[in-house]
């Protein structure tokens, strides 16, 4: 299962979470390489001193999106703290500047600009919705910043200034649909989503795949405004159309309403008639929905908190120690956690914080210690990753029932799906 490594990423490979006691060694290792580079490293025009390097964290901590983005902030802070505990990056401690995007897209643009122009941060970990990324993207391109974007998203984008640590749509969707067709014999699909770009693009890809590749049928496609809370009508339609699979990309508070109403309408999701397959409900959302209301649905994502590998067990333990026992970790939270580590690896490979050098160094960077297992940066700035199918259980966790054999290549501009 381990793929050959391209680069020498000794530190990364050490298994940073296995034993924090190993840190002194790492610290010394890091320090020895500093003096020779100091002048060069400090003269990139970024906020780098002999001891510190500044990065930005840009998520919504207020407004409607705070619900979703809180986990990402926690993950990024944890990763930074762990990196610092290991001696930092190129011997420099990471200092983060946190800004609030306030669930407002122009604010994301404004704050990105502030982080890049005024604070001169070496990297920004942030954004969550596509809209916030689209708003901030021109700023990153104009001022040549580096953004690590954690959310699974619709693709159709490939910026030299962004590393996409979540999955793009084809990675997340196709495997799930194939699995439903192969394992469950699904022939009729019903597509349901919130009304904005990610669900619409995802469903477009899903429809093409269902119709052209699987040779099956889409019996309904439906969108509701963001924040909609009444789903009885669509539930009736689902009952009537009797699809084999309902493929769901409803987001935010609508989720809670949808699953509660689904359950109340007498649909036992565990019976898999129809089977509910979501790409939008992570463990974070289940917290609000309530495990008993969503028990029996399937999710197609790259990460679940219950993944049994060692990396993940250490990660979950560290996360809970840092943020409390009650906390859950979803797909995006894990992807956000990768950001600082991928950046660290790239900086160390480049031997510099310089944005251009980091960018050049990024493709091929791999993390063998990622909680999701092994990831590698593709030259299109997305990650190679596996896709897994999880079955929701009453305790609010997913049980992994399937895992793709190979790493799936990211393909943000999928041929034949546009």
């Amino acid at each position: 299962m381990r793929l050959p490594t391209f680069e020498n990423t000794a530190l990364a490979r050490r298994g940073f979470l296995k034993n924090l006691l190993a840190i002194p060694a790492a610290l010394m290792l890091a320090h020895t390489s500093v003096p020779a580079l100091a002048d060069e490293v400090n003269s990139t025009g970024l906020a780098v001193t002999d001891d510190t390097v500044k990065v930005g964290i840009l998520h919504s901590v207020t407004g409607t999106m705070a619900i979703s983005e809180t986990g990402s902030v926690q993950a990024e802070k944890l990763a930074i703290e762990q990196i610092n505990a290991m001696g930092g990056v190129l011997g420099r401690k990471i200092e983060y500047i946190q800004e609030d995007g306030a669930s407002d897209w122009p604010t994301f643009a404004e704050k990105s600009k502030k982080l890049l122009v005024q604070d001169k941060v070496a990297a920004v970990f942030g954004c969550w919705t596509s809209a916030s990324r689209k708003a901030a993207l021109p700023v990153f391109e104009q001022y040549n910043g580096m953004l690590y974007y954690p959310t699974f998203y619709e693709g159709l984008e490939q910026s030299p200034n962004v590393i996409y640590t979540g999955q793009e749509a084809t990675q997340q969707i196709l495997e799930g649909l194939d699995w439903a067709a192969r394992e469950k014999g699904a022939k009729k699909f019903y597509l349901l989503g919130s009304d904005y770009i990610w669900p619409r693009t995802s469903n477009k890809i899903a429809r093409k795949h269902i119709e052209n590749v699987l040779g099956s049928k889409v019996v309904g496609e439906e969108y509701y405004p963001l924040g909609h809370t009444q789903f009885n009508s669509v539930i009736n339609k689902i009952k009537l159309k009797k699809p084999d699979v309902v493929f769901i990309s409803v987001v935010g508070g609508s989720n809670v309403a949808f699953y509660k109403q689904l359950k109340a309408a007498g649909i036992d999701m565990g019976k898999e008639k129809p089977l509910f397959l979501t790409i939008s409900v992570t463990e974070d959302e289940i917290l609000g929905i309530g495990g008993e209301n969503i028990e029996g649905i399937y999710a197609s994502m790259k990460y679940f908190q219950s993944l049994p590998n060692e990396n993940n067990q250490a990660f979950v333990k560290a996360f809970k120690e840092r943020w409390g026992d009650d906390i859950v970790i979803g797909d995006v939270t894990q992807a956000a956690y990768l950001g600082p580590w991928l950046w660290k690896a790239a900086v160390e490979k480049a031997g510099s914080f310089d944005i251009d050098k980091v960018r050049e160094a990024s493709p091929g960077i791999e993390l063998t210690t990622a909680p999701e297992g092994y990831v590698r940066v593709h030259k299109n700035h997305h990650l190679w990753s596996k896709t897994r199918i999880g079955l929701a259980e009453p305790d609010g966790q997913y049980k992994v029932v399937y895992e793709s054999d190979e790493l799936i290549e990211p393909d943000p501009f999928p041929e034949g799906y546009q």
């Binding site: 901590v61 207020t62 407004g63 409607t64 705070a66 619900i67 809180t70 009304d195 439906e222 969108y223 509701y224 405004p225 924040g227 909609h228 809370t229 009444q230 009885n232 009508s233 669509v234 539930i235 009736n236 339609k237 009952k239 009537l240 508070g253 609508s254 989720n255 809670v256 309403a257 509660k260 109403q261 359950k263 109340a264 309408a265 007498g266 974070d284 959302e285 289940i286 917290l287 609000g288 929905i289 309530g290 495990g291 008993e292 209301n293």
Partner: protein
């Protein structure tokens, strides 16, 4: 449009859609009733109405947790206690808000709108600080889950029935209260002629406070009921505010009957359109329909013609 369905399926469709419409109707009535009292009787525009509802939901969440921890044996009955507590907690907050803020603004109705919007921001942030930014899941007692299968296709959700029953009880209760009780009579007296009411010995300040508290308390009960069908998060309340106001205005602000009729009209229109159109377009058309009617009939569905 209907060709693809059999006759029995069509019957089922209409039965199910009718029921879905009734649930939506109940939701609208619950949302709007408190607001109709506050806005219709007092002329105060409470933009924090949604936040009062969410307070009721959070109270329900706390009580359900307390029951789970200390009284697991009678967990199933927590919901009734939760609704009662939700009513009193939100009513108490309402009374406080009336005392601290609203009573100074009675002669400036548009300003109550701004001040209560400020209040809603503060409450949202308060919820976020206390309960966290994430949504909380309120576990429903088992008896509220599930459904009664009527036929193969038609199933009646228990919590839908519960919400409808609750709506009827509260609506009838409020109507009786406004008609028969001392507070109701005093409220109507104050609405019709404040100086005269004061002159005959009604404590108008107290009546105002009680009315506002009552409206907020009903919002609290609504919030408690909504934990069954919706989400509970710091900003969940905002989702309801526009719809709620439209229901009240559409009904003709001063009439409870109007509110009920308006909730019925809007819910049926929306649920019918939702079935034939996509969800977003149904919503747009419903709103357009309401705005259009309001343009033709600004006073709303039910109003008394009054002499100048």
């Amino acid at each position: 449009m209907f060709a693809e369905y059999s006759a029995s399926e069509l019957t089922s469709i209409f039965a199910m859609q009718g029921f879905a419409g009734l649930i939506l109707f109940s939701v609208f009535v619950l949302m709007a009733l408190g607001l109709a009292i506050i806005f219709g009787q007092m002329g105060v525009i409470n933009m924090a109405h949604g936040e009062f509802m969410i307070l009721g939901a959070y109270v329900t969440y706390i009580i359900s947790n307390l029951f789970a921890d200390y009284l697991p044996s009678i967990y199933g009955s927590y919901f009734f206690l939760a609704m009662i507590v939700a009513f009193f907690v939100t009513a108490a907050l309402g009374a406080f808000v009336e005392w601290a803020m609203i009573r100074h603004l009675y002669h400036r109705p548009l300003d109550t709108l701004l001040a209560t919007w400020g209040l809603s921001l503060i409450l949202q942030q308060l919820y976020r600080t206390v309960f966290g930014a994430r949504e909380v899941g309120v576990t429903l007692p088992d008896w509220l889950m599930g459904s009664y299968p009527v036929t193969d296709m038609v199933e009646v959700p228990v919590n839908g029935l519960f919400v409808m029953g609750l709506t009827i009880v509260i609506t009838v209760g409020v109507a009786l209260m406004m008609q028969k009780s001392r507070l109701g009579k005093q409220t109507r007296a104050v609405v019709q002629n404040r100086p005269m009411a004061a002159a005959v010995g009604i404590n108008t300040e107290k009546v105002d406070r009680m009315t506002f508290a009552l409206g907020c308390g009903i919002a609290g009960i609504a919030g408690s009921a909504f934990t069954m069908i919706g989400s509970t998060g710091p900003t969940s309340g905002q989702l309801y505010i526009v719809d709620t106001f439209l229901v009240v205005v559409f009904g003709g602000a001063s009439s409870l009957l109007g509110t009920v009729a308006s909730a019925f009209t809007i819910s049926q229109a929306q649920s019918t359109m939702e079935f034939f159109l996509s969800g977003s377009m149904a919503k747009v058309l419903t709103l357009l329909f309401v705005v259009g009617i309001l343009m033709l009939r600004p006073q709303g569905l039910f109003t008394l013609k009054v002499r100048h």
